[in-house]
């Protein structure tokens, strides 16, 4: 064993280990770690790998349900969708790398989440991404947005997985820390799912995929620290992606998974070979011995430290059943990928690394995993903010406000982004990007999955608990609005520095809100990712819990969208409108104020209204549907009108409310539905105890289609579309 004489507490601190954590590592080893061992402790105990600040709170989330096959803790969550099929999905962040190098940061984020899903035996069938950038006026925003979108497209298009949805918002709080969260959804046979727990002492440990280089060393540690002004100097810690190799890796792994050769498999993600080997050994309660000189490397002279901490992309670690080596080798050679036997499973319970005949590291795996630090960080919770009285705001022309809102960066069409993504490959895209949720057909049986990502960070900043609740509710609502039964979600918790009590308070509050909503809506969390330390020079992002939801539609032909379909149909509003303007887009974009509390979330009403609506869609009583969220009622109506190129004659706002509270309030649990049988629908609503009222009639005159507001004029759908479509391409063209 090479000694650790040069490993000092100061070097440990540079690796992100606190003094107590370093002492704990020494106690586990019974000696001072050498440099390689220090690197392994540092990576495994980083926030990114250990969830040391978040774990105690994440455990409070509901993670089980009758359909859940596998909850958090594996590479991705698994949910039964019947007929012997399972959906496997997860969301993951690549925030820090994407800020430093947007193209590669985003591209490798896509690659990483794909591997998490196909590692488990699923063919990836859909990708989504949730993006947040700084103010459009910030000098870096255009460059970052362009690079991230090109990176996501460059990788996702090449691997042949459709990118079908997502979101993109802007706020100055993200000026120094953009968010790039990518979600992957895969389809597997429920009886052929692959896990990562090592088994069978003596079995071979196989390295497959791309070669190991010096890129991305200590990426996990970088993702666990704040940025200073010198963030650009961290560029060498960003990995470089090769989607072509990934595509070959997908096909090779899925081909081998058709056989019984694989005992366990794990992708090399954050902390590379270190975390994959430790997790496989740890979950199996076994040891692993690796010969690092057998690892395929890209450059000569790499040290054990570098090999273990490299985050080179497109690599997997597998444990093979006895006698399967030749079969596995043939598959990987067919796909022209590296295949190397690098070690064996052992009974020692230790991770042993050898290089050139010498022992480079030896760590007991159990303590490395189970004695990882866990923090109950102190937190402070804020009190509720005072309400906004809509009557105290100026009375403004609603159509003028609508025109401005439709062109604001958050509501402007994101077509410029999603047209750069292949959203049709694989030939199963039933509902394309731009609606409440995308819909992907899963098999010839006619089933489909609805998928969507959602978060409303401004609500979470104003009231974390309510914001967390709303994020889950909106996700559930978006899936419901296309006719799907929400199954389960994956969450990406993006926050600032958890060592600050007010940030930790945001985290705790958001989790509590999510917990309540998940329970009330039967909508468990099956996988997720936490990204903390999203701060630059002490300034934190808005608390951003991104919810990636997956829902099931029994008959894909019954999926609906938001486009208005027929002249003469009635437009019905489901849900109560109290005119809540606190923390609304109206307040921010029109009144240039960001104060007030977010709208209350009545979870019982959410469940009741959503279940009622799903029944209507199932009975084919609904021609089009849209959830009412950002921007409120009039924005939702405009989006339906633009999608269907039809106008709507709207009834007057009720006199009990200031008119813009009616048109732009962001009350929750609401949907707009188009129907040709309003009497029946309203009767059914009354019987179900669901508030519903007719608010207008679909009316079009071809290109002259317009929204008419009784007593407040009209605006043409063409003009609305022009305002809505122009902003993003115009903004990007200024670069």
């Amino acid at each position: 064993m090479t000694g650790g004489s040069n490993v000092t507490p100061a070097l440990a601190a540079e690796h992100g280990l606190s003094a107590e954590e370093f002492d704990r590592a020494i106690a586990i080893l019974g000696r001072t770690p050498n440099l390689t061992e220090l690197g392994i402790f540092s990576a495994m105990w980083s926030e990114h790998c250990s969830y040391k600040s978040s774990k105690v709170w994440l455990k409070t989330l509901p993670t089980t349900g009758p359909r859940v096959i596998c909850g958090p803790g594996e590479n991705a969550g698994i949910v039964d969708i019947g007929d012997g099929e399972a959906v496997i999905f997860k969301i993951e962040s690549h925030n820090h790398p994407s800020f430093i190098e947007p193209y590669q940061g985003a591209a490798t984020g896509v690659g990483g989440i794909l591997r998490d899903v196909f590692t488990m035996g699923a063919r990836p069938i859909a990708m989504l991404n949730s993006l947040r950038f700084g103010s459009p006026d910030h000098p870096k925003t255009r460059h970052l947005l362009g690079g991230v979108v090109a990176g996501i497209g460059g990788y996702g298009n090449c691997v042949g997985v459709p990118t079908v949805g997502g979101e993109c918002q802007f706020h100055p709080a993200y000026n120094g820390n953009i968010l790039v969260n990518a979600m992957c959804v895969g389809l597997a046979r429920a009886d052929r799912i692959f896990y990562s727990a090592a088994a069978g002492p003596g079995n071979l440990v196989i390295y497959v995929g791309a070669k190991t280089g010096r890129d991305g060393i200590h990426g996990a540690t970088m993702a666990s620290a704040e940025f200073g002004a010198d963030a650009g100097e961290m560029r060498p810690t960003v990995q470089v992606g090769d989607p072509f190799t990934e595509k070959l890796l997908i096909e090779a792994c899925l081909e081998l998974m058709e056989t019984d050769a694989i005992v366990a498999i794990q992708d090399m993600g954050a902390a590379g070979l270190t975390s994959s080997a430790v997790e496989m050994a740890g979950k199996g309660g076994l040891g692993i011995e690796l010969h690092l000189d057998r690892v395929p490397v890209r450059e000569a002279g790499m040290t054990p430290y570098e090999i273990m901490l490299s985050e080179s992309q497109e690599r997997m670690l597998m444990i093979l059943a006895p006698g399967s080596e030749d079969l596995a080798r043939r598959v990987f050679e067919k796909w022209e990928l590296d295949f190397a036997v690098i070690g064996r499973v052992t009974e020692t319970g230790r991770l042993v690394l050898r290089m050139h005949g010498e022992t480079a590291a030896e760590i007991p795996v159990g303590p490395l995993v189970t004695e990882a630090p866990l923090y109950q960080r102190p937190y402070t919770r804020r009190g509720p903010l005072p309400d906004i009285d809509p009557a105290a705001l100026a009375d403004r022309d609603p159509l003028d406000c609508l025109r401005r809102l439709m062109a604001c960066p958050d509501l402007a069409s994101k077509r410029w982004i999603w047209e750069q993504y292949d959203h049709l490959v694989q030939g199963n895209t039933v509902k394309r990007p731009g609606g409440d949720a995308a819909v992907i057909r899963v098999s010839d049986s006619g089933k489909a999955l609805a998928v969507k990502t959602d978060a409303t960070p401004r609500y979470c900043r104003a009231d974390p608990e309510r914001g967390g609740m709303q994020a889950v509710a909106e996700s559930w609502r978006n899936l419901t609005a296309v006719g799907a039964l929400p199954l389960a979600l994956t969450d990406n918790m993006n926050f600032g520095n958890p060592e600050k009590p007010e940030i930790m308070g945001e985290f705790v509050g958001v989790i509590e809100g999510m917990r309540q909503a998940c329970l009330a809506l039967d909508y468990p969390v099956v996988s997720g990712n936490v990204s903390l330390y999203n701060e630059t020079s002490g300034s934190a992002i808005l608390p951003t819990p991104v919810i990636g939801g997956v829902g099931l539609i029994a008959d894909a032909a019954k999926a609906i969208d938001l486009a208005l379909k027929r002249d003469g149909d009635a437009l019905i509003l489901i849900g109560d409108t109290l005119g809540h303007l606190g923390a609304s887009l109206y307040l921010r974009e029109i009144e240039t104020r960001e104060d007030g509390p977010p709208p209350p979330v009545d979870l019982a009403a959410e469940k009741c209204h959503g279940d009622f609506l799903r029944g209507l869609i199932e009975q084919r009583l609904v021609a089009a549907c849209h959830d009412v969220s950002d921007g409120g009622l009039l924005v939702a109506i405009a989006e339906m009108a633009m999608a269907g190129s039809r106008g709507v004659a709207l009834d007057p706002a009720p006199s009990a409310l200031p008119r813009n509270a009616w048109w732009f309030g962001e009350d929750q649990a609401r949907y707009l539905v188009e129907t040709d049988d309003p009497d029946r629908l309203l009767t059914l609503a009354q019987q179900a105890g669901v508030p519903a009222r007719r608010i207008g009639t679909v009316r079009s005159d071809g290109s002259a289609a317009e929204l008419t507001l009784s007593g407040a004029g009209a605006i043409s759908v063409t003009e609305l579309r022009a305002a809505n479509e122009a902003w993003l391409p115009g903004y990007m063209a200024q670069g």
Binding site: D242, P243, W418, E419, T429
Partner: protein, 229 residues
Amino acid sequence: MKAAIVIFPGSNREHDVAMALKRVTGQEPVRVWHRDGSLPDADLIVLPGGFAYGDYLRCGAMAAHSPIMRDVRARAERGTPVLGICNGFQVLTEAGMLPGALLPNRSLAFTCKDVHLRVETNQTIFTCGYAAGQTIRVPVAHHDGGYTADPDTLDWLEQRGLVAFRYCSASGQLSDDDNFNGSARAIAGVFNETRTVLGLMPHPENATDPLLGGTDGQAFFTGLIGALQ
């Protein structure tokens, strides 16, 4: 009717075109790995969309030198119809089996959306399911689809009636806006001299199912299969 789909490392729309063919023929096409020395007996050879060899070097450049391409060329010379879609079109131009080349889109960005195409001739096995001059709506999904050739070649293509499709408006008019990728003379697809080899950038295979937003690509496959039977 037997169809063979050639799979290169990086092909990714083989499943889409296989489904479109199966819907018409009721049979699963044969998939042929690029390193296989020769093709099985087939009435139609398809080079599908994707990113063969990652599109590294140049789109289609490496696939054009793949072992299987010798047999593809030989079969084409003997009259077996060859269809190259998107990346397959790029491979066919790189292999010299179709004239011209595909440049990056005018926007320099990947573009995935529905476009309108004008069917320039229906006197071919590939387009006989359409009326000449008919406008159809099918998706595109590519980064390098700007068709280019020298002016003499373009004139030759036009004179011989070897232009298969052009980008147009919903009403069939040609305009700069509708020619979104900047192709020479708005060309979206071309035939070889015998009209038995077709390369096109758009994806008729992704417009063959009413559930997926359009069926204008169906006549492409029913016409083609009908002509081959």
